[in-house]
């Protein structure tokens, strides 16, 4: 089987898993659901500490200033397979999900800098919470189901520009369009001889514009980076729909649907990050980052919970090792990139946080045409207000970074 066919088979297997959804109960508490890691593959492998790393494979995901380091066209994509154990007082349920996490493309424009475009999934609201009980009514055996089903999340489209300033710094700026869509349904269902479903669902949509900006400066082997994001306030729309759905196919009657619509102001939280990286030797490289999301600045006209969100700090650190980066005829494992990282992130509510360890490897593609990233992550998240409740998560991130050949052919024509 050729490499391409194997890769396609692998992707097919992954996509077939997409019918099973991963979820987070803790994410219910947060304005846009659970925040997701949405860096490029190499950054994910070092815990997301990419703000201070000057490397074109890191794209503009961590810092738009990194676009100033782009001197070839680079395409990157990351797909995430999420595994989750929900643990509550000794009970456990396991879940899985799959989603594309990042798609990005950046290319140089000579002396006027570089342009970049990207899509990333920033938050996820997925939850399928269900309670059930059996009972008798008259001579009938019935089952009552009560379910809270939530799905959706925040997608972020960006267009950015970056340019180097002499040799010691790069700056970048990006326009972002934020799309938040979430559907939350409370479902009451009775099954048996009396079979009916009543669905009370609210579909929330919010779209807004934002800007991101960043600076990176390098001194010898040391690079410092800072970036920030600000999203302007906008109008969110809730459409509440109440409908009954006859489960029996031979029902003679159609159900009437009740729809209510409301609009309100919403302002997402700004965020910022400070990162640094150091090339210790040709083989070793280390990076770290601290950041904050200013949830206290989040505002929702209708939410009574706005004041319960607090500033969320995050810290990440990671390292990379390449056994023989400069050998002329190395063995393959000697040019593989081995990475490890750790991250700790506070969540939007004051007593909630998560940590994760990451291990990754970057597999160089033939003729230096790119990098295939495999990143494994293990971590836990919790909220101290809910004793004995933990979410244990593991992730497999698959990233592809490519584009060198495309660019070289252009270069050859110079």
């Amino acid at each position: 089987m050729s490499n391409n066919k194997m890769f396609l088979t692998f992707l097919l297997l992954i996509f077939s898993a997409a019918i099973i959804y991963s979820q987070s109960v803790l994410g219910l508490q947060y304005p846009f659901g659970l925040p997701l890691q949405n860096s490029n593959g190499p950054s994910l492998a070092i815990g997301g500490a990419g703000t201070g790393v000057a490397d074109d494979y890191y794209g503009m995901g961590d810092n738009p200033a990194n676009l100033g380091n782009v001197n070839r066209a680079v395409f990157s994509a990351v797909f995430a397979l999420d595994l989750l154990n929900i643990l509550d007082n000794g009970d456990r349920t396991s879940h899985m999900g799959f989603s594309p996490r990042v798609l990005s493309f950046s290319f140089p424009l000579g002396i006027i800098g570089s342009l970049g475009f990207s899509y990333s999934q920033q938050t996820d609201t997925e939850l399928n919470f269900r309670l059930s009980r059996d009972y008798r009514i008259g001579n009938l055996e019935e089952t009552e189901d009560l379910a809270l089903v939530r799905n959706g999340g925040t997608a972020n489209w960006q267009a950015g520009w970056g340019i180097p300033i002499r040799k010691w710094a790069t700056v970048g700026i990006a326009y972002q369009r934020l799309y938040y869509k979430s559907n939350s349904s409370l479902i009451r269902k009775t099954e048996g001889l009396l079979s009916d479903t009543l669905i009370d669902s609210t579909r929330t949509a919010f779209t807004s514009n934002g800007i991101r900006a960043g600076v990176q400066t390098s001194l010898k082997d040391f690079t410092l980076g800072i970036s920030g994001q600000y999203v302007f306030s906008g109008t969110a729309t809730d459409i509440r729909t109440i409908k009954g759905t006859r489960v029996k196919a031979d029902s003679p009657f159609k159900d009437s649907i009740i729809t209510r619509k409301s609009s309100y102001d919403l302002k997402p939280a700004p965020s910022m990050a400070l990162g640094a990286s150091y090339r210790i030797s040709p083989e070793w490289f280390a990076a770290m980052e601290i950041g904050a999301t200013l949830w206290e600045r989040f505002y929702s006209e209708i939410s009574k919970k706005s004041d319960k969100y607090d500033r969320a700090y995050n810290f990440s650190i990671g390292t990379e090792y390449i056994p023989a980066p400069n050998l002329l005829t190395p063995k393959y494992y000697e040019i593989m990139q081995y990475r490890a990282g750790f991250r700790y992130s506070q969540l939007p509510t004051p007593d909630a946080a998560e940590f994760a360890f990451t291990l990754g490897t970057g597999l160089p593609l033939r003729d230096g045409g790119g990098l295939f990233d495999i990143v494994l992550e293990y971590g836990r998240r919790w909220d101290s207000n809910f004793k004995n409740f933990t979410e244990e998560f593991a992730g497999i991130y698959l990233g592809i970074n490519a584009g060198r050949k495309w660019y070289q052919s252009a270069q050859d024509s110079y």
């Binding site: 490499n3 009396l194 009954g244």
Partner: protein, 426 residues
């Protein structure tokens, strides 16, 4: 190397997925879910059951209870005769307007008019022994429930020797001429128009219409015949010019299909059946249960559960009968209202097309064991604002399949019991 790693992932991933105990939902984290939506974690706050046995059924009977109602109307075909306590009479009408009239010329001369019926079934007796008579009757006899012939006798239906068709000729010259005049009226009207392309003159001609109605009776007490909608054959002569001479007269037979046909089926003795909760497919007899549901509204008021999530009346047949005895399959339609409906056509428009298919089942002692649930939640939702204390449940039975064919299912019902699951919206 990358090939090996990809192969390892392809092998390992399905293994990991197969060995893991993955679920699509969770019931854990109630406290967190409760902080988001308190009602999402408490089943008691979302469901309330309500059950009443058959003591809330305050009356059981069937409709129609008299003969001037519009029940038992079956359109598209004609049936006439008697069968085990049922009588059927047929009705058909012809509308003669532009479409018929354009085939005629004003100088056409009437020869004869007859009606021809294709037979569908006529039992085991020979076709000639049935005593089918056609009468000219008024349009208001369309839904007439009487076995006594009315109107002007046209004649007895006679079998065509070469087929299974039954024919009758309209011998009354006045009626035949009036039908023929109606055929010519369109062309005569056009002839009066100086400009035949002037719509202001021709449009009134297009709307000229005459209707002729006929009733079919079977005057043999013990036979039953089913017929297709009839065709009217209008034979007339026409003078045609050949070589500029009016010399050739041709007979032309113009065929016109009936615009509407039906048959009405009704019981010979309504008094015998109207006091039983009985459903009959042929006569469209409808079982009715009068139910006191005031306790449902009281429960909804006192508990605060304001949504009827599901409601069903559990119903059992007492007896099932099929005069054709071909199968034990039948279908049930139902409707719930706070009004006692006495008009079959009104009820038919309300009862809808949904049906529940049932096969009659019996225990060893011969008692019927079927138990069916008739959903009434949507009916009750529509009554929430007025909260009537008394409602009427209407039950009709019909053939299992949808083929247009007379069927003879008859079901008597036991009193139903009432099951409701209530819910609420905040």
């Amino acid at each position: 190397m990358i090939k090996k790693i990809t192969r390892l992932l392809i092998t390992m991933l399905p293994l990991i997925l197969a060995c893991s105990d993955l679920e699509d939902s969770t019931g854990l984290g109630r406290d967190i879910v409760s902080s988001y939506n308190p009602s999402a974690v408490n089943i008691d706050q979302n469901f309330q059951t309500f059950y009443r046995n058959n003591s809330i059924v305050t009356d059981a009977f069937s409709i129609p209870d008299q003969n001037n109602t519009r029940f038992g109307i079956h359109t598209g075909v004609i049936a006439a005769g008697s069968k085990e306590g049922y009588t059927t009479t047929g009705f058909t009408e012809f509308v003669i307007g532009k479409n018929v009239g354009r085939r005629f010329q004003t100088k056409d001369k009437l020869v004869a008019i007859s009606l021809s019926f294709d037979t569908i079934s006529f039992g085991t007796r020979s076709l000639e022994t049935h005593n089918l008579t056609l009468y000219s009757c008024s349009q208001n006899k369309k839904y007439s429930r009487t076995s006594d012939p009315t109107g002007m006798l046209i004649g007895k239906l006679v079998r065509d020797t070469s087929s299974k068709k039954l024919n009758v000729e309209i011998e009354d010259s006045d009626l035949a001429q009036s039908i023929f005049d109606a055929c010519l009226a369109y062309q005569e009207c056009l002839d009066d128009c100086p400009d035949k392309k002037d719509p202001s003159c021709t449009n009134p001609c297009d709307s000229l219409k005459s209707t002729f109605s006929f009733c079919l009776f079977n005057e043999n007490d013990s036979s039953f015949v089913r017929l297709r909608s009839p065709v009217m054959k209008i034979a007339h002569k026409r003078t045609q010019k050949i070589n500029k001479k009016d010399s050739v007269i041709t007979r032309i037979d113009s065929l016109t299909g009936a615009s509407y046909s039906n048959y009405i089926a009704f019981e010979d003795d309504i008094g015998e059946v109207k006091d039983k909760p009985l459903s009959s497919s042929a006569s469209e007899r409808t079982a009715v249960f009068q139910i006191d549901i005031s306790s449902l509204w009281d429960t909804m008021s006192t508990t605060g559960f304001n949504e009827i999530l599901s409601a069903g009346l559990e119903l059992r047949p007492l007896s099932y009968e099929n005069l054709d005895k071909k199968d034990s399959l039948f279908s049930v339609r139902h409707y719930l209202s706070d009004e006692l409906i006495q008009d079959g056509i009104v009820l038919d428009s309300l009862i809808g097309s949904g049906k529940l298919n049932i096969e009659a089942e019996y225990d060893k002692s011969g008692k019927m064991t079927n138990s069916i649930i008739l959903f009434v939640d949507r009916h009750l939702q529509s009554l929430r604002s007025t909260r009537p204390s008394t409602v009427y449940l209407y039950i009709q039975v019909n053939k299992f399949d949808d083929v247009k064919n007379i069927s003879w299912e008859r079901v008597e019902w036991r009193k139903p019991v009432f099951n409701v699951v209530l819910s609420t919206f905040k």
